[in-house]
Amino acid sequence: MNRLSKVLCAIVCACAAVQAHAQAAATASGSRGKVYLLPATLENTQWGLYDNATTPALRIESGDTVVMETMNHAHDYWTPGRTLKELLSRRMDDNKLRGPHSITGPIYVNGAEPGDVLRVRINKIVPRAYGYNISLPGIAGQFPQLFKEGRLRYVYIDTDKRIIEYLPGIYVPLRPFPGLIGLARQEPGAYSTRPPGEYGGNMDVRDLVAGTTLHLPVWVKGGLLWSGDAHAAQGNGEVNISAVETAFRELNLTFDVIKGKSLDYPRAETATNWITFGFDPDLDKALDKAIEQTAKMLAESHHVAAGKARELVASIADCRVSQVVNGTKGIHCFTPKKSGGKEDLSRPLKETATHFVTHASEDTLAKAMDTASLAMIDHIAKVKDIERVDAYGLASVAMDCRVGKWGAGGKNVHCLMPKSLWNAPGKRSS
């Protein structure tokens, strides 16, 4: 394809949504439905607010595929060259409710009714080749009082080697996923994109990568799906409030309406695992909700009694701290699909051959998370001789905080940082 035809192709792609509805581009290959393009344009995106009265950007049938594009935060103002001060001053208006996210949608799925489940398969994700991570100075994140100085770090995302050189000599693997993906809430009016909930939304679960299937309860007619908050890599916890934030050239999703299957909370599945979620402003309650959802899923899928299922959770579920920075915090748990199968349940107490490790045991999960993650930030800053605020950013994009034993003896959090981050591409061990 010569250059002219490529430009024309891109322009056609952009113009496809000018009339606020995308055109059917081709019949699907590999799926039974049609394939639609949904570019991120003025007509197809919103900034920081959902409203279930928004005119759909696209109407599709169950079984169709949408190749959508997403923007970076604040209508994509966060591009290399902008200073921290400039970014903080960027406002659409004085609406305090408005979140930072630019979201593409909504997509209306014909036939989706309240009480149904919308199954969304994430087929493919292609990020843009640049992104950033930001530590907001004394404003947000897990430790706003400890990090009064901000830090904005732009990065080049090497989509060829699938690596991000976060700091000189520190390479974070590229693992893109939508930080925000969800359906409209039942309640009318505009609401912030910041908190996650039973509608999905800003879940920031780093395991929702390509190949994962999301099950979302439908609350309004048509479902109305939005997505945004593109992440190229994120740590469990997202402690400084940002991942490697980027935008997606392509977020390829296939939609199916599932009738007669009741669901009150989002759920996801991979080839080998179920993923359940818990969201609450209190991290301990978020864990309780995730455990409850896991038990419910076990009871349904493995046909065990509710009480027994809850007992099983502690022994077979692998729970991680999704994020602690969105106001409403999140926990997600993996449960193997096959009985007898186990996720990675290792919860080391000290450094291993492959990971730096910190551990904390406290009376609440929130305290344990604070202690373990801050210990990791300080440890990395010390042993790798990097600035503390940079260690904070690195923890936000690469640290893996796992929920350990919970019970009367207290709550445990184990934070792991892969040592492979310090290996140059090509020398990386499996």
């Binding site: 250059r3 952009a14 000018v18 923007m71 970076n72 209508h75 994509d76 290399p80 080049y156 060829d160």
Partner: protein, 438 residues
Amino acid sequence: MSFSDAAAFLALPLAASLILVAIHAWFGLQVLARGVIFVDLALAQVAALGATVAFALGHPPQSAASMAWSLGFTLAGALVLAFTRSWSGRIPQEALIGILYVVAAAAGFLLIEQAPQGAEHVKQLLTGNIVTVGAAELKSIMPLYAAVGALAWGLRSKLAHRAGAHWAWELLFYAAFGVVVTSSVAIAGVLLVFSFLIIPAAIGVLWAERPAMQLALGWLAGVLASIAGLLISFRFNLPTGATMVCAFGAVLVLAGIASPLRTGPLRGLGRAARMARALLAAALALSGLWLIAAPRADQPLLDGAEYLFPSLRWSYMTGAEREIHEDAKLQAERYRHETDRLNERERRSRWEDRNMDETELRRLSSFLKSYNEMRKGEEFVMREVRARARVRERWPLGGAMLLAALLIVPGLFSRLRPAALRAALRARGYRNPPGGAS
């Protein structure tokens, strides 16, 4: 747009340029001879001050009243310059010209400050708008220039620069000059009129000894530069005045580079070629070393070469890098197109009297910024991919540039020719140097 459309569009601006070149080249030679290079700028600024006074008094630009004010101020300026020539022994006249310029400019700014759309007026005075010149304007200046030209021809010996010339001839020269500058600044702006005046005359002086030949060469250079400037401005949709000034500058540079040809076609050509090779070799060597030392920094020579021949960069990029680079370029183009689309949408809403509500307008404005930012993001990707490839390939690439510099540096090969080498070895006492026949 077809060739005939372009010709029709550019015919009047070209005619105006040719007329301006014809009269200004002669004045330029006189100005160079007097050594008062910036007299044009000073008189043009005084003329502009007159026009500004007229503007502040409510007269439209290019009206008769505006021209009268402008001419009055210019003649006053000419009077000042003619009388102050006798001070030259104590104060160089260039200093007085400079003072006249800055005072006129400052007074103009003071007036403009009070006038609505003052900034636009200043821009108009500086760069003019030769592309919109009409037939009526040409008809009005042609008799004037013809009269001044006839006067200059008839009194050429009196008006030419002479030591101890009577002040009355100086006053006549500056007054005629002022009249010409007043009308030409209104058409072409201060910058372009300065170029019409000085650059063709400078080229004439550079290439010829006799005044008539200097004038002829100045006219030729002015005509070529005017045609080139207008065509480039038209083809790339650039501001005409500024483009023409740059075209005049480029023609002067070319004339300077080719000036060794004056001494005889072959000998001059050889000298020019050697000089060009030496310059190119030095540029290549420096660029090669700079690339090796700081591959991520700006590389003016390599960047320029890649701008002209984009495929050069494929020589050091991998297939994947090339793909990322081209994709980013494509996306940047797409965002530019989106920006145009939104601008057009906003314009159309105004033309069709369908005012957008505040939210819609705010969203549109936000998106315009967004697309500009996204384009910058893609440019960042292109720069980063290129920088990474240059870091990786800096040794072979820089080495190749150094080698190329060695190959083209003048004289090096003649020293390395086998015969010369053998002679050098014999001179050092070797009887049978290797490869020698004798």
